[in-house]
Amino acid sequence: MAQAYTPGLTITKSTILKKDRILPIKGEVVVKVGDKVKAENVVAKTDLPGDVQPINIGNKLGVPPSEVEPNMIKKEGEKIKKDEIIAQTKSFFGLFKSSVKSPVTGTIENISSITGQVLLREPPVPIDVKAFVDGVVTKVYEKEGVQIENKSAYIQGIFGIGGEITGEIKVLVEAPDQELLPEQIDNSCTGKIIIGGSMVRLAAIKKAIQVNAKGIVVGGIDDQDLKDLLGFDIGVAITGHEEIGLTLVLTEGFGPIKMATKTFDILKQFEGYKASMHGKTQIRAGVMRPEIIIPIPFKEDELKEKPKSFTGLKIGSIVRIIRQPHFGEICTVTALPEELVVVESETKVRVLKAKMEDGIEVTIPRANVEAIED
């Protein structure tokens, strides 16, 4: 039988987590294998080349490109300051000189005798890569970054916005099917990652931003609220760079959807723990989902990699239904019939049968479930 592969999200109370922390371009790694690091520690740093400002000196001085070089006061590689004269025509008796001032501070990178164009490079921009998670450095990729390992409770979200943050977990709802309301959010949420249930609306997000909460984890959000929050409609799901004042992670999807009990229970169990979280989502090449990482105490000899096995769907697998009807329900696979089945929309598809938490058995296209991986 063909392997019933289905994509899934990992939700687990305990895993050995490996996290690569890599510089955008080569630079310097500042830690070594065996070092214990905190999320806030810098592990690698580099300088991004500064912005380039091209300036056509030939045109500005009114000389042909081949005569730009002799008229440059500052030569290739030389440092320059903003408003400093960098090129000047020589004229008889010092009269009628024309000159060009540098619009930026930096260096002269290139002088072209073909185009008359001079490239000015602004000073490099230092970039630090932090550990992001508490753990131990287990690998150093020379000049590129490190691998950090720890033992963590680990939850992959389905969609998020906002960058990397750390904060203490604080659960604000009693049950995973409850909406996170503005009145539940107060100053005790400052610096925290707050956990809601089925949904959060714009007013509650604004309240969380107002009290300086670091992040929100919740089942769903209405797309209209997301649009109002961001000020634009997300066209293609490549997120993580938004600056809205906090990081938001959805565990289920859009609309009010009960957070999976397993996810909620883990977050509840680790209330008060420090967690690392990001909203980076990319649903294209190199798929990326948001993550909530809650480091838990471990001994170094525990950091042994267990081979991951992907057995695909089988009877007894726990799956989440990811499209209507029964969107958001968690169920157990009871049968994997091979023949194609015509469903309500008259679409002919491969299906599975699964029992929902309330005991009702449903027939669902295999494409409409997501494995919950432990």
Binding site: A2, Q3, Y5, T6, P7, I22, P24, I25, P49, D51, V52, Q53, P54, P65, E109, N110, S112, I114, T115, Q117, L119, I158, F159, D222, D223, Q224, K227, D233, I234, G235, V236, A237, G253, F254, G255, T281, I283, R284, A285, G286, V287, F310, I322, R323, Q324, P325, F327, E338, V342, V343, S345, E346, T347, K348, V349, I364, P365, A367, N368, E370
Partner: protein, 632 residues
Amino acid sequence: MAKELRSILATDCGSTTTKAILIKKIDDAYRLIVRGEAPTTVEAPFDDVTKGVLNAVEEVEDLVHIRGEKDRMIIKDETIEVPQDGEHGVDAYVSTSSAGGGLQMMVAGVVKSMTGESAERAALGAGAIVMDVLASNDKRLPHQRIERIRHLRPDMILLSGGIDGGTTKHVVELAEIIAAADPKPRLGSEYKLPVIYAGNKDARDAVKETLGDKVDLIITDNIRPVLERENLGPARDKIHDLFMEHVMAQAPGYKKLMAWARTVDENGKMEEVPIMPTPGAVGNIMQTIAKIEKIEVVGVDIGGATTDVFSVFTEEQVFNRTVSANLGMSYSISNVLASTGIKNILRWVPFDIPETQLRNMIKNKMIRPTTIPFLAEELMLEQAIAKEALRLAFEQHKEFAVTLKGTQREREISEAFSQSTSGETIVNMMTLDILVGSGGVLSHAPRRNQSAMMMIDAFLPEGITRLAVDSIFMMPQLGVLATISEKAATEVFEKDCLIHLGTCIAPKGKCKPGKKALEAKIELPNGEIFEETINFGEMRKIDLGIDETAQATLKPLGGTDIGAGKNSEIETTLSGGVTGIIIDTRGRELYFDEMLKKETMKAYIPEDHAERVKALTQWMKALEVYPKEWLS
């Protein structure tokens, strides 16, 4: 040259799904046997495209077993067995790929509408997605261009500009900008970014000096050696080579896949078959149809992330391809909403739905792109969105396919210049012979009549136009198969690939509801005669089966035209199909589209919500698009 092939396995690794087909030679003719599919596994946790290929092929094996060939196997030791040995293996394995976002390029030219456009055409023809066109006159400041290159991180850059012997200054300036951006391929890649220089040959040394040590510079013939001639071939070949060497080889599992794709040559030696970018393969097949039948063709392939439109128009059979990189039915579905607005989508929906619910549904499809509509309502909504995605992609195509020149076509200098301003499209819906749809939403629609209606609403064919769909979406596989066996590819194409839907008759002109639009007399093969005068604002369906034809006398009324001029009668032969003949008297007229900010064509659709739902319901019932009980 491959030896006589007994069996062929072909896969297409799309961004969402990997599709496999098994072709077998039966009584000297090639036929499709079965088709299997599985989710593409180019991403974590598998990070290996071959896993999805094996899953799809396992499904092929399952289906072959169900058909009775219990011992037939294709996979051996986790690989595709080539050649065939008894019940095991196949004589050829070929593949196309668009997984991982396909080939993403930036192109640069001196004048945007001249060398910039030629460079864009070369890249698109090679199967690339063009992320941006840089040009000396693109109205951006140099530092903005540099930032753009850094930000986009293309897989490769095609730099052109200047005619041979002309001025070198501008093209070298562009090279300097690329050098200043110091572009790096996408993260994790060890190689230097490939830059193909295909501009003024006199500037080669200066470009080499400027870019030589920063990028992997490849120099080839000028794509515009003189103003009135394009020479796209050499640049296009270089793009293909580099796609294989750099981009594909870097993607997870592709080295393995490239080694698997092979056949046995006539001397019995194993021969590798290059993996083709999917759109390049579809383009091959489209051009073949146009060439064999001497017709004008529009083809569309609507995928999860992108929509490709191909066309062959004019007597010179000018080929054009466009890629709408962010119009698709899963990854990019949310961008369809952002581009066209919720109102334009809702105009195709024959029931009430709160805006919030539709927005959430679209976003949920975006974040879980592989799901399938289970509920009737969700199917209707997806098809409404598809109409807008197709419409927008076709608008982009019409804008690009202007006064065109395929490779080596000579043009007058005045014509070359006028291209920048005129933008006269060569797409002519009145002379178009056949419209072919492919891609999940069109190929897998539960009813073929749904595909017919989506294509009519989105493309608005005028006059008399045949409609067809790629039955199980195998044009990409046949496109690459044609490179080793044209016979196998064309035979399967004719017999198993295209499903003819029928013929659409649509008078062009203003719709005048309540007035007469068309007098039609159609002699059906069973002896029946359909003879009616049809009012404006209607849609009708007349059964006419596959391989059947009907003689028709058609007289457009009310100032409309079906190909012979206003109110001019024509006699013609209509071809049948699984849908039959569709008469569409909703008219075709120009209007100003607020979202697109330009004049475009539309068919009549009532503005008032209740009236619109009533009209949609009538049209959908007439075409038997959905079961009656779905339409209240």
